[in-house]
Symmetry: C2
Subunit: 499 residues, 2 copies
C-alpha cells in the first residue's frame, strides 16, 4: 500500500483532521525528549477511542506497516522516535479520566491523561496519584506505563509498576484485551507487570487502572547544605539505615545548584556549597515531627553547614520547583545537555560521584548531578555545545562511560527513563546474547511480527544476523537457552568476591 | 531410561543418601498442603548446591523425565503434587543464608531457607523480612517465591513479589541464569516479576535476593469485637479510606473464634460475638499512638461491643497466635477442612460474606471465615468429614461456588495460595481459551518441553486438544491472539455498568 492509499484509509477511520501526513506537519514528531537521534514518521494519527486505536492498528497490521504509540513526547530515551518511519499513534487526545472509585482507591484513565492532572482532579477528595516524574505537568500516564516512570517520591511509594494494576491493551494485531485486575491481585503469569516498562513494544494501552492514595496528613521538608559530597552521601545512608523511609531524598551538586540559582527558581544556595539534600517525610502529624527532628540530627552528625525545615507550603513548593526544574535550568549554563539515568547501590554513592568527576575531567565536559539519592538513582547531566563539531558524540560517549561505572558497581543503566534507542548498546553491559534472545522471545508472544515499536528496549543479539520472529527463535530452541550464562546482577559485588 | 538406571545416575550425582526411591520413602511426597489430590513421585532428590540442581535437571531433561521443585510442602493448592509421576527436587537441604547486606537492606538466601528463620537471624540488627504467611515457621522462601505468598502484614508491605528483587534460576534444561537485579531496578522485560508466582513452571530458583526491612520503632495492636459482620466490615472500609494504612487488618467470624477458643490459643472471645477485627499499626512511636486512637474511635462509631489495645507484647503475641493458628484450630471442631482463597473489592465484604453464608446453608457444610480484611483477601474454611462418602467432593464444589462469587464481584480466585492443581478449573472463570494459550506461550519461552511442573497454574485451553510446545503455538500464530476477547477484570463492575 502506498502512502497516499494509507492516508486515505486512515482518514476513512479518523476523519481528515486527525491524520497528519504532510512533511511540515510531521517535523515535530521526529523525536521525543531524546534529541540525539531523529527520524521522520510516515504519518501521525489521533484516535480518541479504543475502537479507533484497534481499527488503525488492524489496518497497519494487515498491510505490515510499522507503527508506535506516543504520549506527550517527554520521554528521555527515544522510545517514541520513529526509527523505521513508523506511523505514530498519538494518544494525546485520549486524555479522559474514565472512572474514580474512592472506596477501593482506584482510578481508570485513558493513556493520554496527564500525570499531574489526575492528582488535581482527585485532590478535592484528599487523594493523589503517587508517581511524580519531573515532567509530571506534561507527561501522560500511558507514557509512564511504557517507561515504568519514577519520580522523587518513588523512594517511599515505589515506581509506576507499583501503581498500575490493570490495563486495556490493543495488541499489535489490533485485538483488544485486558491484563491485570481491578484490585491488583495477579493470576497466572504477571502480564501487567510485564507490560509496564515494555516501552510500547508489546501493544498499546488504551485504558489504565491505577491505585490512588490518600494525601498524608502532614509533610515536612528538610533542606541540608554540605561542604562535602561525602558528608551528604553519608547522611543519606544513615537516614535509610535508621529505618525512616522518607517520601523523597534528593541530592543536587554544586554545578546543578549554580544553574538553578540562575533560573526562575532562585533559592539562594551559597555558591560554594558542595551538595544540597532535600529530604521530605510524610505521614501523621505526630510521627512526621519526630522524623524531621531525627533527620536534622543526622545531618548535623555529618557536618552539615546549614539545615532547615520548610516553614510554609510556599517555601516547600519553591524548594521542590528548584529541584524539579533543575534539568531545564541547565539551559542557563550550557547550550545543550544530555541527561543520564543510572542506578547504583546507595552505599557506593560517594565513590561513584568521584568516578563521574574523573570522567568529566577526562572528557572535558562539565557534569552536573541532580538525583534521587535515596534510591541510588543518579541523573548526571552532561553539558555540551552541539554547535561544536564532535561534541554531541563526545557527550554520548561520556554518558555511556558513566553508565559503565554504574553497571560495574552492581547497578543498572536506567532507573526510570527507559532504554529506548539511547541505551540499546549499554544493555550489553548487563545482558549477553542469549539473555537478549530470551527477552525477544517474550516480545514475540505479543508482537511476533515486530511491527509495534521495533528496535526499542532490547538490542539484537550481536551474533545473530536477524532475530525477528518467534518461529525462528523456537525452531532454534536451544539458542534461547544455551547462551544464557551466569552474570552478576543479583548478588552484591562484595558477596561475589567472597564467593 | 528405566527407573533403576535413573536412580543409579541420580546417585552418581548426589550420593546414596540424597536419593529416595523406595515406595515407603515416597509416601510423604504424594501431596503438599492440598490433600484432595495425590500422586506418587518417581523419586525424591536432595541437592545442596546450584550445581547439583543443574546436573540433576540436565540429566532429567536429557531423558525427558518430568520433574518439579518442592520447598517445605506447605503449599495449599497442590503446586508440589507430582501429577505426572515427577522426580521431586526437594530444596529442603538448600537452607543457607548466603549473604546479608544491612547497608543496602538485602539478603540472599537459598530456596529452602525457612521464612521465619530469616527474620530471626537478622533481628539482632533490628531488621526483618516482611512477607509473613501463616505457615512462616515452616514454609520456605523458595516456596514463597513460587506462590507469590502473602501474609497478614502484606496489607501495608505488599506480597512476596514486592520483596524479591532477583534470583538465580536453573532453567528446565539445566542451565543456570540470573534474573532481576540486586538493587531491584528491572531492565528490559520484568523477568523476575514473571518468575515470582509462576509456581515452579519456569524453572527452579536456587538463590534468592530479598529486601529486608528495619523493624518499626513501635507497634500497636487493636482488637475489636462486633455484634454484626456488617459493622466490622464498615470499620475496615472506614480505616482504609481515612488514609491510615495499618500493617495488618484481619477478621475472624464467630465459627472461627469458637474453634480458636477450643485450641491452645485461648483468648476468651465471647461466644456470641459475630466478628472480631485485629488491627495493627506500626511506625514511629508518636504516629502509632495517634493512629491507634483514631482506629479505636472508628470502631466505636461502628457500634463495636468491645475494643482494646494490647497492653503487652505477650498479649499481642497471643492475639496473633489465635489468628495465625486459626486454620489448625479447625481440627477442634471438624474432622477435615478445605481452605479457600478468594479476593474481592473491600467494599463488597459484607455482601460477599452474606452470599458465603447462603452457600453454606445450601451445601449443609459449615464455613468459617478467617481473613485479611484490609486486602479483601478471604479465607473461607469449609468444614467437612472426609469419612462420609461424597463430602470431600461436596466441599470442593462448595469452595468452587465461593470462588465464583469472588470472580463475579470483580475479584479473583486466589490472593496468596496459588492456582496449583486445585484451582485450574476456576481459572476459566477469569480467562478464555486464547488468554490461557497466551499464558502457555510465555511458559514456553522458559519451559518449551513442559518438563518442569507440567499441568500447574494454567489449565489447557478446552478447545485445544494438545498444547504442549511453543512451536505449535507459534505455527498457529493467530490462535494466540484471535481468541483474546474483552473480559472485565480491570474495570470496576460499577464502571462497566455505567459504560
Amino acid at each position: 500500500m502506498d502512502k497516499l492509499e494509507m492516508v486515505r484509509e486512515l482518514t476513512n477511520i479518523l476523519g481528515p483532521n486527525r491524520v497528519l501526513y504532510k512533511e511540515h506537519q510531521l517535523l515535530a514528531y521526529d523525536c521525543d525528549g531524546y534529541v540525539a537521534q531523529k527520524a521522520r514518521p510516515k504519518a501521525v494519527v489521533f484516535p480518541v477511542t479504543t475502537e479507533e486505536v484497534s481499527r488503525v492498528v488492524k489496518l497497519l497490521h494487515e498491510h505490515q506497516i510499522p507503527f508506535l504509540p506516543r504520549g506527550a513526547g517527554t520521554g528521555l530515551s527515544g522510545g517514541a522516535t520513529p526509527l523505521n518511519g513508523e506511523v505514530i499513534i498519538s494518544l494525546a487526545k485520549m486524555d479522559r479520566l474514565l472512572h474514580v472509585d474512592f472506596d477501593n482507591m482506584r482510578a481508570v484513565v485513558q493513556p493520554g491523561h496527564i500525570n499531574l492532572q489526575l492528582t488535581k482532579k482527585i485532590a478535592g477528595n484528599g487523594c493523589y496519584y503517587a508517581p511524580d516524574p519531573s515532567s509530571q505537568s506534561a507527561c501522560t500516564i500511558g507514557g509512564n506505563l511504557a517507561e515504568n516512570a519514577g519520580g522523587s517520591h518513588c523512594l517511599k511509594y515505589g515506581v509506576t509498576t507499583n501503581h498500575i494494576v490493570g490495563a486495556e491493551i490493543v495488541l499489535p494485531n489490533g485485538n483488544i484485551v485486558e491484563v491485570g485486575s481491578y484490585m491488583g491481585d495477579s493470576l497466572g503469569y504477571d502480564l501487567i507487570g510485564l507490560i509496564v516498562g515494555s516501552e510500547g513494544t508489546l501493544g498499546i494501552a488504551t485504558a489504565i487502572t491505577v491505585k490512588i492514595l490518600k494525601k498524608p496528613e502532614a509533610v515536612k521538608t528538610v533542606m541540608a547544605m554540605y561542604d562535602s559530597v561525602e558528608d551528604a552521601s553519608n547522611t543519606v545512608s544513615d537516614v535509610i539505615s535508621s529505618g525512616i523511609i522518607p517520601a523523597a531524598m534528593e541530592m543536587m551538586d554544586q554545578l546543578a545548584m549554580q544553574a538553578v540559582d540562575k533560573s526562575n527558581y532562585y533559592v539562594g544556595y551559597p555558591t560554594d556549597i558542595a551538595a544540597v539534600l532535600l529530604i521530605e517525610v510524610d505521614g501523621l502529624a505526630a510521627g512526621v515531627e519526630e522524623m524531621a527532628e531525627k533527620i536534622v540530627h543526622m545531618c548535623q552528625k555529618h557536618h552539615v553547614r546549614m539545615v532547615k525545615v520548610a516553614e510554609s507550603d510556599a517555601e516547600r513548593a519553591l524548594w521542590w520547583s528548584s529541584r524539579k526544574m533543575a534539568f531545564g535550568a541547565m539551559g542557563r549554563i550550557s547550550p545543550d545537555y544530555l541527561v543520564q539515568d543510572g542506578v547504583i547501590p546507595r552505599t557506593r554513592l560517594a565513590e561513584v560521584l568521584a568516578k563521574i568527576a574523573d570522567i568529566s575531567r577526562e572528557s572535558g565536559l562539565r557534569i552536573a548531578n541532580v538525583f534521587h539519592a535515596g534510591d541510588g538513582n543518579l541523573h548526571p547531566l552532561i553539558l555540551y555545545d552541539g554547535r561544536i563539531p564532535g561534541q554531541t558524540k563526545l557527550a554520548q560517549e561520556t554518558g555511556s562511560a558513566v553508565l559503565k561505572v554504574c553497571a560495574d558497581v552492581g547497578g543498572s543503566i536506567t532507573g526510570e527513563h527507559g532504554v529506548g534507542v539511547e541505551k540499546l548498546e549499554e544493555m550489553r553491559f548487563l545482558f549477553n546474547d542469549a539473555e537478549l534472545q530470551a527477552q525477544l522471545a517474550i516480545r514475540s508472544v505479543f508482537n511476533p511480527q515486530d511491527l509495534c515499536n521495533a528496535g526499542k528496549l532490547v538490542p539484537k543479539p550481536s551474533r545473530c544476523v536477524e532475530v525477528k520472529r518467534a518461529q525462528q527463535l523456537f525452531q532454534a530452541e536451544q539458542a534461547v537457552y544455551d547462551g544464557f550464562q551466569e552474570h552478576t546482577s543479583i548478588l552484591s559485588p562484595a558477596y561475589k568476591e567472597a564467593k
